[in-house]
């Protein structure tokens, strides 16, 4: 697969040329951040399969597609957005084709959590944002992150003050409604020390033509904070979805994440998690794809300090001629003693044409650590099928049940009941073969 660099440059140039006029902010740091990112876009190229980090993932078709930033905003009716409502959520920020839609959003001002868009956030607390926005998601060497930052106009901000604990989740909903549009969702979550919050980051579509989502999310946990992060990628089936996430955990904080990828023709999620002393994270994922879909998850869990714990279970269910990629790096730095890290990549192929590339990686530079990792790729276990048949279930029902269960093990970990049952139903529908 060869792609010339001139084509790459052309692609990026066309995107940048279509950049809407971003009015200069009165905040010098924000202008600086954007212009640094614009400079990096000028230097970087779209990765090809010659790049180690992209060797399994062919995004060359991006070069044959033409996307433009949103020109006219769609006046979406509340009912149309309502179908994506999550009943437990106390606050919801809705972005339509990347543009903030206040009339669709709902903010519970009383529960102590600040959920606002960038404009309101800057008005209230520009200083806190200056030290965080764009400081965690690395854009100097990652072209999509750089593009997102260059286009940074609005964002979803969630700020949880110290010791505030809320059980009702915050729903950040990104709805695609227009074909050929490139949107740049941006999220920033600041969890103050001792705070507890659940955030759902949700990408959906109301149309089935091609479009491009290029998202960046930064999550910062102060000491003893606890964040549940549920990421749902259910884009349209012709979409290209590329996302970068960066999570920073201060001492003794706890990050629990479940990310599911069901949609998009091509999706790529890069997640970088950095752990301080005694921090804990669970980073679980499920890609459920079929047809000609490609879903790629790249994670890097960085044990920078001692006594931290990370658990990761990533699963892929691959049907049709689809292609799933998982690359999970666990880095244990020098001095990160007593690290406890467990990683497992499990993959289920439903057809002979389904394909998976998985690459668990452990890089350990400390000597007193407990690290395990492993990967399995296969079809359903015939002993499991037999067990169910021996209880009277037909082979088709047995296979459906096991395929469903394979995915449900991840969905079960979502702590929001209505979302959990919705996604369980999606898995059930997609894994059920009629006898």
């Amino acid at each position: 697969m060869s792609t010339s660099d001139t084509v790459n440059a052309g692609y990026l140039e066309s995107l940048l040329a279509g950049r809407p006029h971003v009015p200069a902010s009165p905040l010098a740091w924000l202008n600086t951040l954007r212009s640094e990112a614009v400079d990096r876009v000028g230097v970087l190229t779209v990765p090809t399969q010659r790049d180690e980090e992209w060797r399994f993932t062919d995004i060359s078709q991006l070069n044959r597609m033409s996307f433009h930033p949103v020109r006219t905003t769609v006046d979406l009716q509340a009912e149309e957005a309502g179908r994506f409502r999550i009943e437990e959520a106390a606050s919801r920020l809705v972005f339509v084709d990347g543009v903030y839609a206040p009339h669709l959003s709902m903010i519970d001002a009383d529960n102590g959590v600040s959920v606002v868009n960038l404009e309101a956030g800057l008005a209230a607390n520009a200083e806190a944002l200056e030290s965080c926005l764009g400081r965690y998601a690395e854009f100097r060497n990652e072209v999509f992150s750089a593009l997102n930052t260059a286009f940074l106009q609005d964002a979803a901000l969630v700020v949880v003050p110290q010791d505030v604990s809320v059980s009702a989740p915050v729903h950040l909903l990104f709805i695609a409604t227009q074909k050929d549009v490139a949107s740049y969702p941006r999220c920033l979550l600041l969890a103050g020390s001792g705070s507890v919050v659940t955030v759902i980051e949700d990408y959906v579509s109301l149309q089935e033509d091609a479009y491009f989502t290029n998202a960046v999310t930064e999550i910062v946990l102060a000491e003893n904070a606890r964040v549940n992060h549920i990421r749902v990628q259910r884009e349209g089936m012709k979409a290209v979805h590329i996302a970068n996430g960066a999570v920073s955990l201060a001492r003794a904080s706890n990050y629990q994440s479940v990310s599911v990828a069901f949609g998009a023709r091509i999706s790529r999620y890069n997640l970088n998690v950095r752990l301080a002393e005694e921090a804990e994270c669970a980073v679980d994922g499920l890609a459920l794809i079929a047809g000609r879909q490609l879903a790629d998850t790249h994670t890097c869990i960085d044990h920078a300090k001692p006594h931290a714990m990370s658990h990761q279970l990533h699963k892929c269910i691959v049907g049709g001629g689809a292609h799933a990629v998982f690359n999970g790096k666990i880095m244990v730095r020098q001095g990160a003693q007593r690290t406890d890290s467990r990683q497992s990549s499990r993959n289920l192929l439903l057809t002979n044409k389904a394909h998976v590339d998985t690459k668990p990686q452990l890089e350990i530079f400390a000597d007193d650590v407990k690290c395990t990792h492993g990967a399995t790729i296969g079809q359903l276990d015939s002993e499991e099928v037999f067990y169910l048949q021996s209880r009277g279930l037909s082979e088709t029902v047995a296979r459906n049940m096991l395929t469903y269960a394979f995915g449900a093990e991840i969905i079960e970990r979502i702590p929001v009941p209505s979302l959990k049952s919705l996604l369980e139903q999606t898995v059930l529908d997609q894994t059920t073969v009629q006898p």
Partner: protein, 264 residues
Amino acid sequence: MIYPDSKIVLEVRGLCASVNGTEILKGLDLTVRRGEVHAIMGPNGSGKSTFSKILAGHSAYEVTGGTVMFEGQNLFDMEPEERARAGVFLAFQYPIEIPGVINSQFLRLTYNTVQTHRGKEELDPLEFDDYVREKMKLLEMSPDFLERSVNEGFSGGEKKRNEILQMAMLDPRLAILDETDSGLDIDALRIVANGVNQLAGKDNAIVMVTHYQRLLNYIVPDYVHVMEAGRIIKTGGKELALELEARGYDWVGAECKAASEAAA
């Protein structure tokens, strides 16, 4: 219990079977009638577990000769699920864990599937809940087990109890218990055996496959068979199990060999 003129549940004649080209069963004969409890004992590798899996229809084993009739039907004409619906039940030596499937949903699905094929009424979730809780008392199981994934994180004893719970629900004509005592402590063994004893009746039959005599202290067999090298080489009453416990298996083979030489 042995009943005179009881109907034959299972009739095995000259059964030969192999796995991956290796012959495991070499002409096995066995007749089981309603109401009876049989124990098949034998050293490791004698073919006991193979026999139980073949009865349930495991596809890894190739039947190369002989016949098996179940309630007058050719068992080998039936898929595993058809055997289950017709009343064959295998309690697994190593029950499978199914993370992601809630036990109560699994139990209800299997129960209703089997009921439907037997022309009986299905139970809705509420009715089923009452039904299964009643059955769980038999095995001294906490209702918590209903909300957990099937067998996931269950101890050895909990898994075996879950197997016997399924036996209780599916009401088989023929229950095959494959090494049901393995991995059980004495309390779990007592509970499991007590459950099986309450399920045994004059209309069903039980075949226990076991390496040790221990289980037979709790579930008393009408017949004890000794299996060696793919065949049943000796059949006796419950006292045979005690003799095996005391003397091991070697003497049975030697006796059998001497007898066949004498006949020749």
